[in-house]
Symmetry: C2
Subunit: 339 residues, 2 copies
DNA sequence: CTGAAAGCGCTTACAG
DNA sequence: CTGAAAGCGCTTACAG
């Protein structure tokens, strides 16, 4: 099958290929009449630009990269990525920008993949997720000068875009709600300590507790798995002054906690209130249904893509905070037992 | 930053750019000594081929497409896709082939996206998932002659690769297990009727039941959601001759069924056994833990990528059946109550 | 075994 | 407003 090129359009229209290029790209230099004729011919013969040729001359690949650095088997666990990706797609597809997805084991491999993609000119920009407080990817991105947007808090030292969630507000809402119910001993089972937002949430938690005059609350760090969530819960519930409420950094650990409480003969929510850090189908279907923090992940992805596309178009990097978190109250929380 | 090209390598090595190209691509036409020298220089100056230039002359884009046709909000629900994608990636990344991901609403949009990607030469081949019994994408793929592999059963009329799961064996195993426990009234809550494998599984279910002398079992078709799963369960359990066991086509519906049974005062597994069609964290964490069919989705993705890469390299399309399904027995199944 | 050259399908100054 | 030409960075016959 012979490929349809602008040469053919030029011939049919009786103009030069330069004129066709100008017409097709909406540049000045061709009369409206000629432009219209050229566009019609292009449509008629079903012409589509060769991306390779466009990239080679125009130096744009029309793709952006998303390099996910996580062990493969933990990927299916959280619905976050598919939601985030469909948000990205929603914005990208309208601009005819493709999403290049890579899944790698760790940051070392992610850096390798970034370098390669960039050297090959496969991508015009990159989305960075799962930011660490100390993140080795950032200096490489800056050195390479890759247009990049962080799905996370902005770095003061970086000229990168950033879109992040208001974790502090979300933590505040959870603590305020539990305190209003009458809880005073509230603990937190946090996620991966290396993640930037884990530290932000822990700090927010401590401050919120202090604001209510509740000092030195228990915080346990985990790897987000059900196993460590269960273990942390067991440890907290074995204390003499055991908490009457626990905030979990995701939904899976919160569910694991329900089981632990049941095994230990501690009633949920009668004796223990549980708040899940992510909302998902799971929270609705489990019994008791889990009170949870709900985030609009798709919007998060969409805004992230918008900031990146702007940067690729040469506009300055933007930073944007998502304010979509809200606490969805279900059956796993209630007033604490009388002291 | 000036791009490093083969011209620079040629100059440094004192050979023509043609020689450099041959050397770098491992073709005959250069002495081993020259090749070595060229490779060393390339390494030293950190040369990477421009994908655009390679594509334009070599007519390969070094990318394959995965176009997922599902409403965005249902995507996060199932862990299937992230697992499948990490399987694909595992194979692709070793070959330096990128995965181009698109998420669209329906088959019409998927066809549009396919046509465009192919016309732009953005992809060398495509992976097709969620096959319908009557699938409008297939004729378009054939017409365009896109190298494609179906993540599903092969079509006799198509010269396409195919990798699929042995649904019949999986259904047989579930039914055999339940019958061995003593169940005779077994129902099935199936997934989306339009999907090819839904029909395969229903047929397998009917045959397995017939083989055990149990005719005309109840089958209800759903859209895979917890809502329809709950509704189907309620309907089945309201019958005079209600089933003592139900097979669900995924995990979410099985979980919804646990809740329905509880509401109706029917004990699981004492009075009702439940088998989930997919295995996930959920199945382990819920109480009672769900007996489930477990599939190695990552291997499924990996083999799918292998078949596609072979086709892109010009080898004939292969078809391969995955035999990884196994029944994981947990707490949601037991002998039926005495009649 | 190697060099010179055409070609892939576009874009973009530069003349007219 | 339009045409002719160089260039993007590779690959690949074709001569030597």
């Amino acid at each position: 099958m012979k490929r349809v090129t602008i040469a053919e359009i030029a011939e049919r229209a009786g103009v030069s290929i330069g004129a066709v290029s100008y017409a097709l790209n909406g540049r000045p230099g061709v009369s409206e009449e000629t432009r219209k004729r050229i566009m019609d011919i292009a449509d008629e013969i079903g012409w589509r630009p060769s991306l390779a040729a466009k990239s080679l001359s125009g130096s744009r690949s029309h793709s952006v990269g998303l390099i996910i650095a996580r062990p493969a088997d933990t990927l299916g666990v959280e619905p976050f990525f598919m939601r985030f990706i469909s948000g990205l797609e929603r914005e990208l597809s309208g601009h005819r920008i493709a999403l290049l997805l890579q899944v790698v084991e760790d940051h070392r491999a992610a850096i390798e993949a970034m370098r390669l993609c960039w050297a090959e000119r496969r991508i015009d920009g990159i989305v960075v997720t799962d930011l660490y407080a100390e993140d080795t990817r950032i200096p490489v991105i800056e050195e390479l000068r890759i247009p990049a947007v962080l799905a996370g808090r902005p770095r003061t030292d970086a000229r990168l875009g950033a879109v992040w969630t208001d974790d502090t507000a979300a933590v505040d809402a959870s603590v305020d709600y539990l305190v209003a119910l009458g809880h005073r001993r509230i603990a937190r089972v946090a996620g991966l300590p290396a993640l930037d937002h884990t530290q932000v949430r822990i700090a927010a938690f401590r401050e919120a507790m202090a604001r209510h005059g509740l000092s030195e609350p228990q915080v346990v760090e985990t790897d987000y798995t059900a196993e460590e969530g269960a273990q942390a819960t067991r440890a907290l519930l074995s204390r003499r002054d055991r908490p009457t409420a626990i905030l979990f950094d995701n939904d899976v650990m919160a569910l694991a906690a329900i089981n632990v409480a049941q095994e230990m003969g501690i009633a949920v929510p009668g004796e223990l209130s549980i708040v899940a850090g992510d909302d998902s189908q799971l929270c609705v279907l489990v019994r008791p249904a889990l009170t949870a923090l709900s985030w609009d992940i798709q919007a998060y992805g969409l805004h992230t893509a918008q900031v990146l596309l702007d940067m690729i178009d040469g506009r300055p990097p933007r930073t944007h905070q998502e304010n979509t978190a809200r606490l969805v109250i279900r059956g796993s929380t209630a007033a604490p037992p009388p002291a």
